[in-house]
Symmetry: C2
Subunit: 393 residues, 2 copies
């Protein structure tokens, strides 16, 4: 009864199904593995045994699934209670589950950690593996998170377009980028800066709190210099007191206690209103976009490095399960930057659970309104080439 | 002094520079054409003679410009007054301009029309050609507008991702799509519907007014059926009295008298609030995104048909100018749908100026909340293949 089960949790990414398919295809090569179950809607699907027999899916269909955005098994945002965990073990025992793979972010690693701890206490023969994914790129240990490079590419291509659009019609353009705790994805906007006068001209990150007054002053100074300004703003930016700006309007929270930041244009509109009212430039044209869920699910673009690595972390998780390794979290170690190369490794679940990883100080400029060359060297190989552009003046 | 001048106006598109480069490269092959000037920032750049010598730009650089989003010459949203037109003629005479090419939407055609009429009155030897572009796809005469297929592709790939994201996490997802007067771009979301239960489940267009109550009822019914709902909403939707919903919050207008619809998340938030408060499903998860300027400028995706046709309308405009044709507007005639083929033709400017083109009634379903097969047959060849996807359940 050496059966395995795999699930997906949290917000989807463009390549989360690569990891799913990587794990399934690898599992099929191991005769030690019995059934290969997929659980629908993350851990919540365990409660009522919503399992799919993944051996029945053809390799050809799996390849199409791998290229499909969203979480093919369905997802959830649920932090299991101790009672939930009791129920999970009943079900796992019933189905002879020995290997549990859970693809997700740090909340997901925490869930896998809780379950594996209780399994150990109960002497249940069981291994849990957290397969990383998050466009937020804020997991500990790993060099970067599968899902981030594709989201970063999307953000860079958006900003490249918005920069060239703003160059045409001037004014101030503010784009709000996902990233609850850390500025990694917002920082990727800098990859769009193709020449000295090109935007984004200002990048505001959760790691570098700023008052609305400072932001307005810096935008005004950019308009003085270039006659226009393109601004990247993280949805998680904080004011000078360290409080989330989003707290001024958002109340909705999920079961992990996270405030709703995405799926609303309110932060962008708040910023635009403030700048229109307080800029020294009268009648300034200010437009905002909130990049939204396309950052994690836009179908038309994917980072090749990301697709390959996401496939690999799924496959390697199964190989670790088949080795004498204990439960753990898969991570990526960058072994070379030029040409880019990486290796897949394993760390303990507790090293990844709960805690997020901010951008290091030396990835952010001294003024706290942009990124450094060091960040660009980090991010560029992950994203790959973006659209070549030129200007007439 | 058979000089030519070319300018760009209104919102950029992903392929507006293809038209610019098509015209320049064609012009270079005609010895009858003297200088090839580009005017910066549309008609406003004529006032202070902001001209660029486009003969100085290498063909290699022009090819990169052709693939660059935004308006490489800069753009404007300015409707010239009679005094403006006097000034324009002074400048055109001074520079020996005989051929004027203006790339833009129906406001741009109107501008070209006004100028060419006054030129005719004054007996000035002059031809003006409107080269069409608009992601709104709402120009008269032409089968479709350059810029629309690429924007439609972007919208379809966004909805494909959002559908698969919503399938993972459920709830209601509303995406607000550009399109001031007509629903063409919003309708393109339907190209993402890859199987019967897939979204967008509801599509709301300016051509089919709906009350907020009807919209809420239809969303509730979809949630009853599928446990979730993906909704496409045009920024230009009207309530049952025919009034723009956006009027409830937006006051800003441009010099053509158009209300600001884009660059704000307010319409999406208004819809989400209404549905959360009025849905019969308590605690319904409702998220909205406003797709924003990426629809017209996202760098990472382009329709190949669009890029080719946009290049061609620029080149053909110059050929018409060199023929005995009078001033006019370039348009596309579809000559075959499978395989897709088109021809480039010329119509009078007055046929395109001012008036916009709504979606025909037989492109919209009877319930006024979706599109017909006929629309899909119209739009699919323009957009080309979108990402193949599959589902596990």
């Amino acid at each position: 009864m050496n059966n395995m089960i795999i699930g997906q949790s949290g917000g989807p990414t463009r390549v989360i199904n690569q990891s799913l398919v990587g794990a399934i295809l690898e599992a099929k090569t191991h005769t030690d593995i019995g059934e290969i179950y997929g659980v629908k809607y993350g851990i919540t699907g365990v409660f009522d045994e919503q399992f799919i027999d993944l051996r029945k899916i053809s390799d050809e269909k799996l390849e199409t699934i791998a290229g499909t955005p969203g979480s093919a098994l369905g997802s959830c945002r649920h932090k299991p209670t101790p009672e939930d965990c009791e129920r999970i073990f009943e079900v796992f025992k019933k189905y002879g589950i020995k290997y549990y793979f859970y693809i997700g972010g740090n909340d997901t690693a925490e869930t896998a950690h809780i379950i594996s701890e209780i399994a150990a206490e109960k002497g249940y023969d069981f291994k849990a593996f957290h397969i990383p994914k998050t466009i937020d790129n804020d997991l500990q240990i790993t060099d970067h998170c599968p899902g981030y490079p594709s989201a970063a590419k999307y953000v860079a291509e958006c900003f490249l377009g918005n920069e060239l659009d703003n160059r045409s019609l001037k004014g101030v353009k503010i784009d709000v980028v996902m990233g609850r705790h850390a500025g990694w994805l917002t920082a990727a906007s800098a990859l769009a800066k193709f020449q000295e006068d090109a935007g984004p001209h200002l990048i505001y990150l959760p790691e570098a709190p700023k008052s609305l007054e400072e932001i307005t002053t810096e935008i005004d100074a950019t308009v003085d210099k270039y006659g226009r300004c393109v601004v990247a703003v993280s949805e998680g930016i904080k004011d000078e007191t360290g409080e989330l700006l989003a707290k001024k309007f958002s109340k909705e929270t999920d079961s992990h206690g996270n405030i709703q930041l995405s799926g609303t244009g309110a932060l962008g509109d708040l910023l635009a209103d403030h700048i229109k009212k307080n800029s020294k430039h009268d009648g300034l044209r200010v437009r905002t976009d909130t990049l939204g869920y396309a950052q994690r699910s836009y179908a038309g673009s994917v980072s090749q490095v990301d697709a390959q690595e996401a496939r690999l972390v799924g496959a390697e998780a199964v190989k670790f399960a088949m080795s004498d390794a204990k439960s753990g979290s898969i991570y990526i170690e960058r072994t070379s930057n030029s040409p880019y190369a990486s290796e897949i490794k394993l760390t303990e679940l507790k090293n990844v659970a709960k805690v997020t990883k901010d951008m290091p100080r030396d990835f952010i400029n001294d003024a706290g309104n942009g990124v450094t060359e060091k960040f660009l060297e980090y991010a560029a190989p992950l994203v790959g080439e973006i659209t070549p552009v030129a200007t007439l003046f």
